[in-house]
Amino acid sequence: MYSADIRKPLVTGGKTYSDVTEDICRPIENKPTSSWWMGFIIAVILLLVLVVTLVWTVWEGIGTWNVNKSVMWGWDITNFVFWVGIGHAGTLISAILLLFRQKWRMSINRSAEAMTIFAVFCAAIFPLFHMGRVWLAYWALPLPNAFGSLWVNFNSPLLWDVFAISTYLSVSLVFWYLGLIPDIATVRDRAKTKARKFWYGLFAMGWNGSAKSWGRYEVVALILAGISTPLVLSVHTIVSMDFATSVIPGWHTTIFPPYFVAGAIFSGFGMVLTLLLIARYVMNYQDYITTEHLEAMTKVILLTGSIVGVAYITEFVIAAYSGYEYEQYAFANRMFGPYAWAYWTMMFCNLMAPQVFWSKWARTTPWFIFVISIIVNIGMWFERFVIIVTSLHRDFLPSSWVMYHATWVEAGIFLGTFGLFFTCFFLFAKFLPVINMSEVKTIIKDKE
């Protein structure tokens, strides 16, 4: 047992191995609570909003959105980048923190990874439906084209995105599933009902915790973590290249990849905190997700928030220094143009608000962290909105300058993706162990 006395224990309440099993299997083995039902029903209602607005989009056409020839990317790509970014915290926690041997990741990695997967589902909806004819989405894959031997264009960052996002989703999914197997086996061996025995037995794949399997399992987990780390960095790098490889003022900058990756981690941790603060309260997991965990996560928010802040300022300084009038105008327009309110919201939420985490009180007070986490989520949505819309609505040719406001359909789709996200999350919280039991059992006696 490793012990560092200056640190507080990672799991409090003097839990034994079987206490961990009992606590974490409780939601799976009992009837859902009324707060679960309430949350789930709200989520399903929002999910219905998504279905209605998507059906309407397909039925009536992309004309139901307000995107036009100048602002051809509006809320849809804003939301796409927003959701992909949110996913990044999950992989960061489970992969990068594993490589850094940060043990505090262990009680939060399962739910953060689940969040990654659900966020990527939400993200995928936007580019797919923006294609207009969503049933032809498979044209984005490198398949021989039936109308001639035309292939996909490997010069295009949009194609890179197809590869990056689908790799990200599938690798996250197998990583998540691999981590779940021992815990699914635990649920299987406690199962009292036939259905539970069958389903958990099916997905546990005969796992019985033999030392030989564990040895192999740990090597595989380490390799997956090792390759997921460059993956998570590459995904948002490639997303940023959707913008950076174009010639639009405000997009055409080399700072985009690191700036987007930092922003993604920042927004992801914002969402992880929002979700975990609710989950630990509703499911009574204060002993597993302690203030130590919250504090560690707020420190990541502080760091990445500051990186993002520096990037905003750098971007502005470089634009001013470039002597390139279009670039200079793009930034002046962001700050003082018709979308200035969005720019200053972004600056407040991302640059200023997280700086409160220099104070220990702010880092350890759950309700306050919750408020800031919401602000971070809002701020990061506005960041993408500012980048996309302000750069597009006034470009090189003043005759094509327009204003862009979303329609109820676009707003409905965005709202609806929250329904999809939370429906998935509530189902996950009911049917799978929210905390990685087998990993937590290795640290309940540790202090680190």
């Binding site: 191995y17 890179w160 061996d189 997956l224 390759i227 460059p230």
Partner: protein, 306 residues
């Protein structure tokens, strides 16, 4: 070569059950020093160094990972090159249409490297361990995925020392339970009634209880009543009933057990001393030493004064 420690093929095992990973590691060391061949250990969580102590070689899945990655990388290149250079070159933005396009292929090659490595790893892991959906699981103890750590020895194997000696070594090493002939069973493919009636559970009745500190004791009626009166005289009668579950270490089930021997209040718990703790442990077969370790007395004191 499929892993035999996942599918146990109705072998018979001698099984030592531990509740502490350090004891398990020590037991493995001792047995291997004596030349005993250990079949495998089964733990609910990864116990560090256990695989080295059991003498397992580090898996060569890492080499496989490299090969999978290489295949992925080359596939990415082949895909892009054959489509955009050989089969149907496209002039886009005046960019070249030869091997110098390579720089545009890098993101795809990179992603496919990762994709192939991840899937290759996971599938090889399943294949090497013989894991597949719908397979029946072979367990030696229902709690091996919960809180019990097992050390299993194949009875059919030729050993340097005889079986009863192995069992006594396991007991000396602090196994909470040692069983002589255990047949593997599974939980998800058998109904609970069948499980209860199966030989597996019968085995457990014939468990060779280990001696020493963690001995499970069955008391005669006389012994019980003498201990009950000791409790009564030291702790006094209960006035009302407290929620004993608030004490760390007491669950709903154990609370009932405590109630059944006349302990209902924090006040009574706070008065526990060495003799009464021993009596409780003997009567309820509670983990020896846990009550003192968790310090129920001062916990109860605090709760009383709330």
């Amino acid at each position: 070569m499929i892993d035999k420690s996942i599918q146990l093929d109705n072998k018979k095992f001698t099984v030592g059950t531990f509740d502490d990973s350090d004891k398990l590691l020590h037991a493995v060391d001792t047995l291997r020093e004596k030349g005993v061949k250990i079949f495998d250990c089964y733990t609910p969580f990864p116990v560090h160094h256990l695989d080295h102590k059991l003498g397992y070689q580090r898996t060569n899945l890492t080499i496989a990972a490299f090969i999978c990655g290489l295949i992925g990388c080359l596939s990415g290149f082949t895909l892009a090159y054959s489509m955009n250079v050989i089969d149907w070159p496209m002039i886009i933005g005046g960019k070249p249409q030869d091997i110098t396009l390579f720089t545009s292929f890098i993101p795809v090659m990179f992603e496919l490297t990762i994709l192939f490595t991840a899937f290759g790893m996971v599938f090889l892991f399943f294949a090497r361990s013989g894991m597949v959906h719908g397979i029946k699981e072979d367990l030696l103890d229902r709690r091996q995925t919960n809180d019990h750590m097992l050390l299993a020895i194949d009875n059919a194997e030729d050993q340097t020392v005889n079986n009863s000696e192995i069992q006594s070594i396991l007991q000396k090493e602090g196994a909470i339970e040692v069983r002589g002939t255990v047949t593997p069973f599974n939980t998800s493919h058998t109904s609970d009634e069948d499980l209860e009636n199966s030989t597996v559970i019968q085995e457990e009745v014939k468990v060779v209880r280990s001696s020493g500190s963690s001995k499970k004791i069955t008391l005669s009626d006389d012994e019980k009543s003498s201990r009950l009166s000791l409790l009564k005289s030291t702790l006094g009668d209960a006035s009302g009933k407290d929620d004993l579950k608030q004490i760390s270490g007491i669950g709903p089930k154990y609370e009932e057990t405590l109630n059944s021997i006349g302990i209902f209040t924090f006040e009574q718990v706070s008065k526990l001393n060495a003799d009464t703790i021993k009596a409780i442990e003997e009567m309820t077969n509670y983990f020896p030493g846990r009550i003192e370790r968790d310090d129920w007395m001062s916990q109860a004191n605090k709760l009383m004064n709330k």
